[in-house]
Amino acid sequence: MSATDAAPAAPGRQAAPPPTATTPGAARRTWTGSALQSVLAIVAALVLGGLLIALTDDRVVETAGYFFARPGDMVSAMWAAASSAYEAMFYGAVYNPNGNTLGQRVYPLTETLTVATPLILAGLGVAVAFQAGLFNIGAQGQLLIGAALAAYVGFAWELPVGVHLLAVIVAGALGGALWGAVVGLLKARTGAHEVILTIMLNYIALNLVAYLLTRPAFLRPGSSNPVSPQLAETAMFPKLLGEQFRLHWGFALAVLATVFVAWLLQRSTVGFELRAVGANPRAARTAGISVTRGFVVVMVLAGALAGLAGVAQVAGTERALTAGVAASFGFDAITVALLGRSKPWGTFFAGLLYGAFRAGGVTMQSMTGTNIDIVLVVQSLIVLFIALPPLLRTGRDRARSRRGRGSAATEGVRA
């Protein structure tokens, strides 16, 4: 588009609100595509991953040496390698038929749910922000601050049963919300880009927590190890299915959060505003919706959700604050939201899948010797397969509009 043709409208466009949501076509399509695309991406990634497992397998390499003499050997070796790896992953993630008791047999599934809990919560934080047009890359930092605050309330305060856990949950949500609010306020005030802000705040959060873990207030008495005291029993999520499983009530919190976000986005006035801001900020503003307020609200919400992921970690799985308490959940959450197409229940199931990958990957490595990094490869392939089609389409559209800028295609469709 040359500036010339924009000129007649230009004076009217100058004073548009300074901060605008960043949802260009390709990105929006990547984040809001159909569920079928997500499923196909998973299948394609698993197939390619299987191929990779097969091609790096010792037995396959061996049979490849005489491939032309007996090709069947290599093919069956490849099948055996890939299928046994995935089988092991399934055993580790869903159901272990070799277990002696029912408990042992379903143990893998409970592990998957345990690992999925922070992924779902943080994933919702990313998804909800995207619905308002913001790329929240900062779930990691929000999760960490939430975890730190929740942990402190958990080990330093003494409160009755029930109240204490509630206080921990609120503290975690507040911590994340605070970290998110900084982003929302800065973007609303100055128009700074949320991607930059969240990335920078991730570093601040990481180093802040590392610093806290050198202060006596956050350390176990007499120890200089960067590990906080254990949270009080009253501050922790009870186990969901008994003591032999790690699965805790934090998972129920994740389900509740999903239900809440689904209601919020589709059935509440706030969600209506947020989605309008995300899909067309100019029209939202013209309709009397405050776009800047929307940015702050959604970042507070997103941060609170990621903060809850931190609560699930310290009050559920890890039981104490360490520098590594967030693992890479905050970053994996981005992929989870992407795979879930920024829809609440989509994110929920994507979180389960990623939880299964994590839980199953360990078993796969120990049972078949397949490197656990293959799981990372599969996860990355999923992202690639989801991101690729919209990018290709955009490339094609661009090429077409370069040639023609003929709006005839759209004109035609609308006739």
Partner: protein
């Protein structure tokens, strides 16, 4: 050159944009392609220009079949196109723009002298008055358009395609363009003129081909009456004038005084604008696009931060309030660009119908939306405004432009109003829907609502206005009656005050000499840098 299209069909998937179209352009002929928005005119032109391949059919140049792989082939065959949006590099000079893509070089260095000479020749021959060394961004829109025509002529075009060329022009510039088109015809060039503006089409065409829904529905001569042409275009009889009674203005409702809007670059986009609108009266704001009308509408709604002065509605000050507060004060607002400002494309029809009403008690209770009420409201509005949509849950972006506009209008008229502000209420809307929308606006006036219409289409201004305010460079040139002749409005739109025009003044330059227009780099119509142009106006 004789150009012939034989049974051209163009499909996009299952959608047929053009079906079995036959068209012959004889040498030295102005052939008009008339059709509503979305009728398939642009698709056909893009086929002709090599941007699309026809699904079926043949293109013949001087009797022999040609096949265009791209615009390059079309240009080589002598077809030139002037797009609706200009394809010019603003910071380049006219000569550089013309040379771009077909540069002649001498020893590796750019040879602009040849191009300059050609531009002067062409400019002189057709009376273009274009200086090859002027920088394009300094030129008025009308002159930029001539640069586009020169580009085609330098490449030896024998057939020129002009795609909605008058959309961006003042009436004065339009007349100038029509004159140039006639000159080109005299010299044997053929012109394919795409338009939906009946008046211009009748004035300049030799042959008129009307297309509707991708098919040729008739060929006629310019002697056909305007209503015949409109009926052909729409497929049924339409009334081009809105039946409306004399206005019965009540007390003054909207009082704008000293309204000044400053742009981000410090330039005044609206300069000390004052006017009043009474209850039960339609005030139409006329002017070429980009002369402050958009800013006026936006300032009233509260979308402009740097606005000073006063906008009082029934005595209450609106300026300085939030958009929400202004809407709550009873202002209905139809933005000029529905897709960017009026609708959220991926939202459903029913959601868009409550886009600025969702907080109303009717549609929400506490933090929850009342989805049943929202759906009921949508069914009612779709029925009442005849919105053609597959379902109230269809994304609004899948609707045609006219139906999208009906959604906006339906929403804004679905509550009791104290003021209706509508910018370009029928832009890109088919003739049939224009009639309907105009009726709704007049009905609103008859309820006693003050109405402010902003329109760059004089036909629309005449159809609706009880009084007309003409804007130029952010100022009001005068407020005149609805019977004011077209040429008077045209001169006012080019910068003459009402007194000057009606008083028979000779000069129509900038009457105020504040210079703000000339210093505004964004201004599409700066004070004519081309002295010859000004002379012609007299």
């Amino acid at each position: 050159m004789r150009l012939e299209l034989q049974s051209i069909t163009k499909r996009f998937g299952s959608f047929t944009a053009n079906e079995d179209i036959d068209l012959v352009v004889e040498p030295g002929q102005i052939h008009c392609l008339l059709g509503e928005n979305g009728a398939g005119k642009s698709t056909l032109m893009n086929v002709l220009y090599g941007l699309y391949r026809p699904t079926e059919g043949r293109i013949l140049v001087d009797g022999s079949e040609v096949s265009f792989k791209g615009p390059g082939d079309a240009m080589a065959a002598g077809i030139g196109m002037v797009h609706q949006h200009f394809m010019l590099v603003p910071v380049f000079t006219v000569a550089e723009n013309v040379a771009l893509g077909a540069e002649s070089t001498r020893g590796g260095a750019l040879d602009l002298e040849t191009t300059r000479r050609r531009i002067r020749e062409i400019s002189h021959r057709y009376g273009f008055h274009v200086d090859p060394d002027a920088v394009v961004e300094d030129l008025p829109v009308g002159v930029q358009q001539r640069v586009e025509i020169i580009k085609a002529l330098v490449r030896e075009a024998e057939v020129l395609i002009l795609d909605e060329p008058t959309a961006v022009l003042t009436p004065k510039e339009t007349d100038e363009l029509l004159r140039i088109m006639r000159e080109l015809r005299e010299s044997g060039k053929s012109i394919l003129f795409i338009s939906h503006k009946l008046r211009e089409v009748k004035e300049v065409s030799d042959v008129i081909t009307v297309i509707r829904r991708g098919r040729v529905v008739g060929q006629t001569s310019p002697e056909a009456s305007t209503s015949e042409l409109a009926a052909l275009m729409v497929g049924r009889d339409v009334s081009l004038t809105v039946a409306k009674d004399e206005a019965e203005p009540g007390e003054c409702a909207l009082d704008v005084s000293g309204l000044t809007v400053v742009g981000d670059n410090g330039v005044k986009l609206l300069d000390d604008v004052s006017f009043q609108v009474a209850r039960g009266e339609i005030l139409a704001v006329a002017g070429v696009q980009g002369n402050g009308q958009t800013e006026l509408a936006e300032a009233i709604l509260g979308l402009r931060e740097r606005a000073t002065g006063s906008v009082r509605l029934a005595g209450k000050e609106l300026l300085g309030r939030s958009v929400r507060q202004v809407l709550d004060a009873g202002v209905g607002f139809v933005p000029e660009d529905r897709s960017t400002d009026g609708l959220v494309g991926p939202f459903t029809v029913s959601e868009n119908l409550v886009l600025d009403l969702y907080g109303d008690d009717r549609f929400s209770r506490g933090p929850s939306l009342r989805r049943g009420e929202i759906a009921a409201n949508a069914r009612r509005a779709v029925e009442q405004f005849d919105v053609r949509t597959p379902s109230i849950d269809a994304p609004v972006q899948t609707l045609s432009g006219g139906n999208q506009q009906k959604v906006v209008i339906a929403r804004e008229l679905s509550r009791p109003l104290e003021l209706l502000v509508a910018s370009q209420p029928t832009r890109g809307v088919d003739v049939g829907s224009i009639e309907f929308i105009h009726e709704q606006i007049v009905a609103e006036r008859d309820k006693g609502v003050p109405v402010l219409i902003v329109s760059t289409e004089l036909d629309e201004v005449y159809a609706l206005a009880d009084r007309i305010a003409v804007f130029f460079h952010g100022r009001i040139m005068g407020v005149v009656g609805p019977g004011t002749p077209r040429d008077v409005l045209g001169q006012m739109m080019a910068g003459a005050t009402a007194e000057e025009v009606l008083g028979g003044a000779q000069r129509h330059g900038h009457p105020h000499g504040t210079g703000h227009g000339a210093t505004d780099p964004q201004d599409p119509n700066p004070q004519d840098p081309n002295p010859q142009d000004t002379k012609e106006q007299a």
